[in-house]
């Protein structure tokens, strides 16, 4: 009986574990790594909304991350506006920009759209490198505020608060994803992803739904950007706008499984610790090792299992179940759902 409930139990156990993590493992490096895992889960999920569910592969999502970070920082530095409000401001900016970029781009087929996002990403990076009032290449420093008050969105004594905030963001993002998945929007997006022309002929307003997905995705990425700014206390074009960041957002989702809720989270959980530990232990001499492995994994996954780790897991579960069924009723003819041809 308990076995049936296994997935739910596992989920509950996971949630509990996440909640007490900082108490169990207060060691700063570990906590920091975990915060990054959660942050990248958020980013992966955000990317997933447009890249996975809507099927529009974007390699320029760093734009929104960066816009979020810069908006909240500029608002804070110039007008003393609270980073929480700044977060909303950043999301707003991202929504507007994503709509402007997205709307004309949606009619582009997959590859051209992807390249357009790369181009747009690079434009923003160069732009911000050269905008003096936004700090230029130098970047912007956030003032160090002591006191660790929630309203300041800055905690210097312990990183635990950062952890809980990003955990909250993850939960929120997961809920948004879940909502999209289960409602009409998710259904439409799936149709659009599978066959946009058929979807259009069914009366689905393809552009509008892609736009919805795009702006939601952008807003979430931007909020993650604000978090990052408050966490690191420094934003610069090199740290928040690089192509590498866009790539990693896509990577996290692809590895874990696009178009699924758990995929990006799994992807982040695998990718980030590896990246951090590789950097620390192999101290630059084999610095890019984790990316080499990931490049390889992406190639393999694209060929054999585009659904990523999630799909692998599902297949495995499916086969286990089939095997059990087969064991339980060995005399009956093979279940038609196996797809092994006619009998």
């Amino acid at each position: 009986m308990l076995r049936n409930r296994l997935p739910q139990l596992a989920l509950v156990a996971l949630v509990l574990f996440l909640l007490v993590f900082p108490t169990l493992f207060p060691e700063p490096f570990l906590l920091r790594t975990m915060i990054l895992v959660l942050l990248w889960s958020v980013l992966g999920l955000a990317w997933n909304i447009i890249g996975g569910y809507a099927g529009q592969v974007s390699f320029g999502h760093a734009i929104f991350f960066g816009l979020g970070a810069y908006t909240s920082t500029l608002l804070l530095n110039n007008w003393g506006i609270s980073p929480w409000l700044g977060m909303l401001g950043g999301a707003l900016v991202a929504v507007i920009v994503s709509a402007i970029i997205g709307w004309p781009s949606f009619r582009l087929a997959g590859h051209y759209f992807a390249i357009a996002t790369i181009a747009a990403g690079e434009i923003f990076a160069v732009l911000f490198r050269n905008l003096k009032w936004a700090g230029g290449a130098v970047g912007l420093y956030l003032p160090i505020v002591r006191g660790d008050r929630l309203v300041d969105f800055q905690f210097n004594e312990s990183k635990a608060m950062y952890y809980y905030i990003v955990l909250g963001m993850l939960v929120a993002t997961a809920l948004v994803t879940y909502w999209i998945e289960r409602t009409r929007m998710g259904y439409y997006l799936k149709a659009i992803r599978e066959d946009p022309d058929a979807a259009r002929s069914l009366g689905i307003n393809v552009t509008r739904y892609k736009l919805y997905a795009m702006v939601i995705s952008a807003a979430l990425a931007a909020m993650a950007g604000t978090f990052y700014a408050q966490f690191v206390l420094y934003v610069s074009p090199k740290t928040v706008f690089p192509l590498a960041l866009s790539i990693q957002m896509a990577l996290v989702a692809i590895l874990g499984g696009t178009g699924t809720l758990a995929g990006p989270i799994i992807g982040a959980a695998v990718l980030i610790p590896m990246a951090e530990y590789t950097r620390v232990y192999l101290a630059g001499r084999v610095g890019g090792l984790h990316l080499v492995v990931y490049g390889l994994l992406i190639v393999l996954i694209s060929i054999y299992q585009p659904g990523g780790l999630m799909a692998l897991l599902r297949n495995w579960q499916h086969r286990r179940r089939q095997r059990k069924l087969a064991q339980a009723a060995p005399v009956t003819a093979p279940a038609g759902g196996m797809g092994d041809g006619s009998v």
């Binding site: 420093y141 420094y234 610069s236 090199k238 590789t278 780790l309």
Partner: protein
């Protein structure tokens, strides 16, 4: 399909496991508590058990430098220098340098300094991450580094947040000491001083009868280059020189023909350039190719004094002027420079340069402060640093000494020189009374060499 999935699954899990294993197990001397796998519990006890034996046998100092990445060659120089300084402190040497004649730190029972290295790969974010790791995991008492101004900025920000002293021997961006930080100390003179030096130098050349009225400013557009350009513009106005062109460019360029063309369009001028090594080399090659020969090229150090510069360009590197903080020929007036350089050369195979000399000096200053503090308590070290007063004859730099301004923590006794590359060697040409060679002016045309 089923078989393939199984294959893929196996491959994927193997790859992941392998990668984690490699990451975890390939750790060389990574002492300290950072776990190699996620199964670590909170029960790690690093040097965090400061309780018992504060009778320290060794003092941990973190050094964050670009050990890999585009500036790896420079990073090696810096690392070597810091290691040499550490060795001099830890052992007995008959040199008139702080802590050389004793083994270890006398005020701490002969305790020795152990360096813990961090690699920032010329990336500000990594620099910050390394600072965090060194402070929180390795429990270093202080940090030294990091060459790139942009990285020093973020790494020292972490130190400021954590309340750990950060000594910066080589970054020259003015902003670094204008942040009101309490834990940041800088020994090297900085770009404000150097930029002004340029114009003092040009004034003196004018006085000698050379015709100089225009300058062209070319700079890479990260923190350092941008700051330099701002200062150069400022002093140009103050000293009455006309800025014929202001050309910021994207660092790590692949092609600079547009930029050089713009320089040519600006006409006769003295070029003031701020570039790191790869760009510096590319520009020189492009100058030669497009036949651009300004009245003079005065570089703000960095790429132009890296060992790669002369190595790659050979004779084409000649006649470049650069501000420098140090030159080997200063040994003629300061024998201790020769002594230290000889040691360096014996161990590492090359002469010292402005970067290694400053890193060396910075490390000694830090060690001296820790010794006077008599403890690894950050606040004690900070207080000791504030009181630093090292005389000119105990350092290998052409400075009047080392004393930190109480507010900005900038060394107020530093100064710069200008060198010229002649026959592949850096010769001091200014101040004229320290010069060891006659300056070649103007920059000879490429066809005339």
């Amino acid at each position: 399909m089923i078989r393939r999935s199984k294959l893929l699954f196996t491959v994927v899990s193997l790859a992941v496991v392998l990668a984690v294993m490699v990451a975890g197990c390939a750790a060389p001397a990574a002492p300290g508590p950072a776990p190699s796998a996620q199964e670590e519990t909170a029960a790690q006890a690093p040097a965090g058990s400061e309780a018992a034996s504060e009778a320290v046998n060794e003092i941990l100092v973190g050094a964050i430098y670009p050990l890999s990445g585009s500036l790896a060659a420079t990073g090696v120089d810096l690392k070597n220098a810091v290691e040499l300084a550490t060795d001099i402190v830890n052992n007995e040497y008959d040199l008139n340098l702080p802590l050389a004649k004793t083994a270890g730190l006398p005020n701490m029972g002969g305790a020795k300094i152990r360096l813990v290295l961090g690699d920032h790969e010329a990336d500000p974010e990594k620099g910050a991450a390394e600072a965090e790791r060194l402070i929180n995991n390795e429990k270093v008492a202080a940090l030294v580094g990091s060459y790139n101004s942009a990285v020093t900025a973020t790494a020292s920000q972490v130190a400021e947040r954590e309340g750990v002293p950060f000594l910066n021997p080589e970054s020259t961006s003015p902003t670094l000491t204008e942040r009101g930080f309490q834990w940041f100390f800088r020994t090297t003179p900085y770009d404000k001083l150097f930029a002004e030096n340029f114009f003092q130098f040009l004034d003196e050349m004018k006085a000698k009868g050379y015709d100089v009225s225009n300058v062209a400013i070319l700079n890479e557009n990260t923190l350092w280059g941008t700051d330099v350009a701002t200062l150069e513009n400022q002093y140009a106005e103050e000293y009455g020189y006309n800025v014929a062109a202001n050309i910021p460019y994207e660092a790590n360029a692949a092609d600079v023909s547009s930029e050089v063309q713009k320089l040519k369009a600006a006409g006769e001028a003295v070029l003031l350039q701020a570039s790191y090594v790869s760009d510096a080399i590319l520009y020189m090659q492009t100058y030669k190719q497009l036949d651009y020969a300004p009245t003079a090229i005065i570089a703000m150090d960095a790429g132009f004094v890296a060992s790669e510069f002369v190595e790659t360009l050979g004779d084409d590197a000649n006649y470049i002027l650069s501000r420098e903080v140090w030159a080997l020929d200063l040994a003629e007036s300061k024998p201790i420079i020769k002594a230290v350089n000889d040691m360096y050369k014996e161990r590492y195979g090359t002469n010292m340069n402005g970067n290694s000399a400053r890193a060396f000096t910075g490390m000694l200053v830090l060690a001296d402060a820790i010794n006077r503090a008599g403890s690894t308590d950050p606040a004690a070290i900070q207080a000791a640093l504030m009181e630093t007063d090292i005389p000119a004859d105990q350092i290998i730099m052409p400075w009047k000494g080392i004393r930190f301004d109480p507010e900005t923590h900038q060394n107020t006794l530093g100064s710069g020189i200008i060198v010229q590359i002649l026959d592949g060697e850096y010769k001091t040409v200014w101040p004229f009374d320290l010069a060891s060679a006659e300056i070649v002016w103007p920059f000879p045309k490429w066809s005339e060499r």
